[in-house]
């Protein structure tokens, strides 16, 4: 099995890795980089729990070979809202994460890292989506707990807040954001 020396920039940090040709990006992130935020639910691109941003686009990281992502910039949910590298106790959440918290848009939380990254991408492309558009755009992310209802509300709330508050930024583009809608949440 051939190996490849690759470089990934993950949540702003450059990481050098040696991976097999067959190594999936999600496994490189989880076991090579040690960022276990993206989850594995199906390894076949069906559930969306492993969704990350690769060079600014939402991708299912189980459908990308790590070697093919060489040189890429990856953002995972742990890189949003300035949470990366934070100590214990509190976390800064970005507008989307805050809305998921406020609207009870998560229960077990296993789909959440992927769901949030999909929503970040959705709102970057459609700042004011209708409920039908939201539901359609979430088709690649399965949630077995919430029935999606409060996920949809969270997306609507995040969209409202982003449109009302010009200071607010989407976390994917704002790893260093310290203002806007980021909020302190007790852990």
């Amino acid at each position: 099995m051939g190996t490849h020396d690759i470089t990934l920039t993950v949540n702003g940090e450059e990481e050098a890795l040696t991976v097999e040709s067959r190594t999936l990006l999600v496994h490189a992130l989880r076991e090579g980089v040690g960022d276990t935020a993206p989850k594995v639910g199906c390894e076949s691109g069906k559930c969306g729990a492993c969704t990350v941003h690769l060079d600014g686009e939402a991708v299912k990281s189980c459908m990308v070979l790590a070697a093919a992502a060489d040189g890429g910039e990856v953002t995972t949910v742990s890189g949003l809202g300035g949470a990366s590298g934070e100590g214990e106790g509190t976390a800064e959440l970005d507008a989307v994460q805050t809305a998921f918290h406020e609207e009870h848009g998560l229960q077990c939380g296993y789909c959440t890292p992927g769901m949030v990254m999909t929503v970040e991408d959705l709102l970057a492309e459609r700042p004011d989506p209708s409920e039908a558009e939201i539901r359609h755009q979430l088709k690649g992310n399965i949630c077995r707990c919430t029935g999606y209802q409060n996920v949809v509300r969270a997306v609507e709330t995040a969209a409202d807040r982003l449109s009302e508050d010009p200071e607010a930024e989407l976390g994917a583009d704002a790893a260093d954001a310290d203002g806007g809608t980021a909020s302190e949440v007790s852990d």
């Binding site: 960022d35 994460q97 939380g109 992310n141 077995r144």
Partner: protein, 787 residues
């Protein structure tokens, strides 16, 4: 009973109250945001596969490609020769060890005595996907290479996947002691009385139906990380468990180790739905291999492995009858059911179907009920409880029958239901199948549902909408038994006055970290933020049962509440001693004890005193209490769900226009979390009604072994659910609570199917089996070509 109306406004008020901490008010009843969320939203929560250990090895299974066969030979040599493969194990290795290696079966509840499920196949396989061998390697990819390299030869036997066919004379026998494959036949109710009731009734109606086989599909596949410390001879299994103490006991039986030497840790768990309460081969095999290898061993199910070999749910075939008088009075109910239980009994899975009939009379005052259920082995994955576990099967039968009866006597289905509801003054109410309902007031919930769905208007509207689609409205009334068994709650005040609540339940989405803290804050009188909740570790939590069957708030909530009250009582005596006052005169609010003379002492000072400071003479040190709580009797939640649909007769497409869920679970600890439970349960119920179906080919191959074949609901296929509540407290526990976790999976399937059948009544369609895919609905309308 009281009504909680206008849910959105109520919810906003709840939230506002929660955020302002509602000075002096109770936290129970407020929809405060969950404290669990931050870790989950930032990727910092640790799920089992996220956990690491030094020198961890990875285990993967060779799974049977046959549904039913004798295993002639397993050749592991090529696998063992691979670089990075540490070992390849078969049953022979397990048999040669000191571990029994078998998942126990509760055979005392069966009519036969079949063996339990071996962790690796012992001579024979009985379902597609059964683990045959296990490969352990340095990394997960190499473990899979090893799996590919193992050669298994089989001598196939005939498969049988349908429980009715499995009882036939030509069917292959799975276990010698059950030649007709019937594990147990269970009779509930009085057959003779039911015969008499049917003979005396004006009319009888029969319905044949299938309760489709389902796969729980928690988004996190099952996983385990087993670490063995040879120095202390202790085994720690971090695993995806709803029931840490239950799994410790089961692992102890399979591994032949005392419970005291096993620690089970259930960290963040990505959904359970019953599935993660059962004892499966993977976790046990990882634990066995870790001891054998002297290295940590991690096993994480693939999605297909989880679908093939994790316990499935439902799989009933039922012929049911209702006896009804012309005035709509229900005289009797009877059901005859064949329930597939799969190729092995897992724990009590093979006897579980026998109890489903206990809820057949549901909300109705019916004097005669009889249910006969045969649990039948088939060459399929084991079947065990899945969210609802018998209640959805029962209520689906009842609600289909009630609609059929309304059609037979020409009465409106809502009116027929109303006429037969148990009177609110009749509680406690004993049913003909032996259940005793604690409390209920069923008619208001029905009325709220009818009003919210605008029932009269929909019924009065033309059969077809302007666009030609058929219009239908369906109802499902239901009861749900909740809160069985015992649970522990330990409340411990630390010397600094902060509090930890240790509970034997496990939260995997239910938000116990928030709701238990709400309950304890109210009972103990200390600030919510000073209270943490610990679950999911047999070494931190002394003993417990787990989370399943809509039980946690009922038994876990009351356990922690009682302990909190005990701690408060002791703390008050210490405070009174410090304040030189009578304990009866000392009050506690927001963490401060006050005496009538205005003097005060903080809870933290009292807690410090309890741990070695100035306290009443003779009082033992410490400030904690443990309650092993057992509910006096089962609490029965209830409610009515109402659904309006449109059906396109040309395509078979069904659209759910309106979904109203009215649920009564007694006192409501956190309405936001409660609504979330209903949303999720309804989505799973709509999934069963519309798309989910675990299908086996006649040769025993699971045809729906992946997420692209097993159709889970997605955001666009789930309706918006309008939640309403009535509140009828349970008299059996101090909190007045009942469970709610399974209500949606119980009510949604009959409500949706009844709505579709109502829409199709003008077309002469009176039956269709779930899942109501477009194709099935189209065939119900247009007939089966060639038949």
């Amino acid at each position: 009973m009281s009504l909680t109306d206008a849910p959105d406004e109520q919810r906003e008020a709840d939230e506002a109250a929660g955020e302002t901490d509602d000075e002096g008010g109770k936290l129970v009843g407020q929809g405060i945001d969950r404290r669990e969320d931050a870790a989950l939203l930032t990727g910092r929560a640790t799920f089992t596969d996220d956990a690491d250990a030094p020198r961890v090895a990875h285990l993967a299974f060779v799974r049977s490609e046959e549904a039913h066969a004798d295993v002639e030979a397993v050749d592991t040599a090529a696998a063992e020769a691979l670089d990075g493969v540490l070992a390849a194990y078969t049953w022979a290795d397990v048999e040669a060890s000191d571990a029994p290696g078998v998942l126990p079966i509760s055979a005392e509840a069966l009519d036969c005595d079949p063996p339990g499920h071996p962790v690796l196949a012992r001579e024979r396989v009985r379902y597609h996907g059964q683990p045959v061998a296990a490969v352990v390697a340095e990394d997960r990819y190499t473990a899979r290479d090893g799996v590919e390299a193992v050669e298994v030869s089989y001598d196939p036997r005939p498969a049988v996947v349908d429980p009715v066919e499995a009882r036939g004379a030509d069917a292959p026998t799975l276990f010698e002691g059950a030649p007709d494959n019937v594990a147990v036949t269970t009779d509930l109710g009085d057959e003779a009385a039911t015969d008499a009731a049917f003979a005396a009734a004006d009319r009888t109606v029969e319905v044949k139906l299938e309760n489709n086989r389902l796969i729980a599909s928690a988004l996190e596949p099952r996983a385990a990380l087993a670490e063995y410390d040879a120095g202390s001879d202790e085994l720690t299994v971090t695993m995806t468990s709803q029931s840490p103490h239950g799994h410790r006991r089961k692992l102890s039986e399979t591994l032949g180790l005392p419970e005291r030497s096993i620690r089970v840790v259930a960290p963040s768990v990505g959904g359970g739905f019953g599935h993660k309460g059962h004892h499966h081969p993977g976790e046990a095999a990882a634990a066995w291999a870790a001891r054998r290898l002297g290295r940590p061993v991690k096993w994480t199910a693939t999605r297909s492995g989880n679908y093939l070999a994790g316990a499935h749910g439902r799989d009933h075939r039922t012929t049911a009858k209702i006896a009804v008088d012309d005035d709509g009075t229900i005289r009797g109910l009877r059901a005859d059911t064949d329930a597939g239980v799969g190729g092995y009994g897992l724990g009590g899975g093979a006897s579980l179907p026998g109890w489903y009939g206990s809820l057949l009379s549901s909300e109705y005052a019916v004097d005669a009920v009889h249910c006969r259920t045969r649990s039948v082995f088939t060459t399929t994955a084991p079947v065990h409880s899945y969210r609802g576990a018998g209640r959805p099967e029962a209520i689906y039968v009842t609600e289909r029958l009630v609609d059929a009866a309304a059609r037979e006597v020409g009465m409106d289905p809502a009116e027929l239901r109303r006429r037969n509801l148990i009177d609110p003054d009749a509680f406690p109410y004993e049913t003909p199948t032996g259940a005793t309902y604690d409390s209920g007031d069923y008619e208001p919930a029905l009325d709220v549902a009818l009003e919210a769905v605008d029932y009269e208007a929909v019924k009065a509207a033309p059969d077809r909408d302007d666009d030609g689609r058929y219009r239908g409205v369906g109802l499902a009334c239901m009861v749900e038994s909740t809160g069985s068994g015992f649970e522990t709650g330990l409340v411990r005040a630390h010397p600094d006055g902060t509090v930890t609540v240790y509970a034997g339940t496990h939260s995997h989405g239910q938000g116990h970290g928030t709701t238990y803290a709400q309950i304890v804050a109210d009972e103990l009188g200390v600030p919510y933020d000073d209270i943490e909740v610990a679950e999911g570790d047999t070494e931190r939590v002394p003993t417990g049962t787990g989370t399943f069957g809509s039980r946690s708030t009922v038994v876990g909530g009351n356990a922690v509440a009682e302990s909190a009250a005990d701690v408060r009582e002791k703390a008050t005596r210490i405070a009174a001693h410090r304040l030189d006052a009578d304990p009866a005169d000392v009050t506690l609010a927001d963490g401060t004890f006050s005496a009538p003379d205005g003097s005060a002492v903080g809870f933290a000072d009292v807690a410090a005193a309890a741990h070695g400071g100035d306290r009443p003479a003779g009082m033992p040190p410490g400030l904690e209490a443990t309650t092993a709580y057992e509910s006096e009797a089962t609490a029965y939640s209830f409610g009515t769900h109402a659904v309006e649909v449109r059906v396109d007769a040309d395509t078979g497409e069904v659209d759910v226009e309106t979904y109203v869920a009215v649920d009564d679970c007694g006192e409501r600890v956190n309405p936001t979390i409660l609504d979330g439970q209903v949303h999720g349960g309804v989505a799973q119920g709509v999934g069963q009604a519309r798309s989910e179906h675990a299908v086996y080919g006649d040769d025993g191959e699971l045809l729906t072994g992946s997420m692209d074949r097993y159709a889970l609901p997605r955001a666009a296929s789930v309706p918006h659910v309008e939640t309403r509540a009535t509140v009828t407290p349970s008299p059996h526990n101090d909190l007045g609570v009942k469970g709610i976790g399974e209500a949606g999976t119980i009510a949604a399937p009959p409500a949706v199917v009844n709505a579709v059948l109502d829409a199709l009544e003008p077309l002469g369609v009176d039956s269709v089996d779930m899942p109501l895919t477009d194709e099935r609905v189209w065939r119900a309308i247009h007939g089966e070509p060639g038949r």
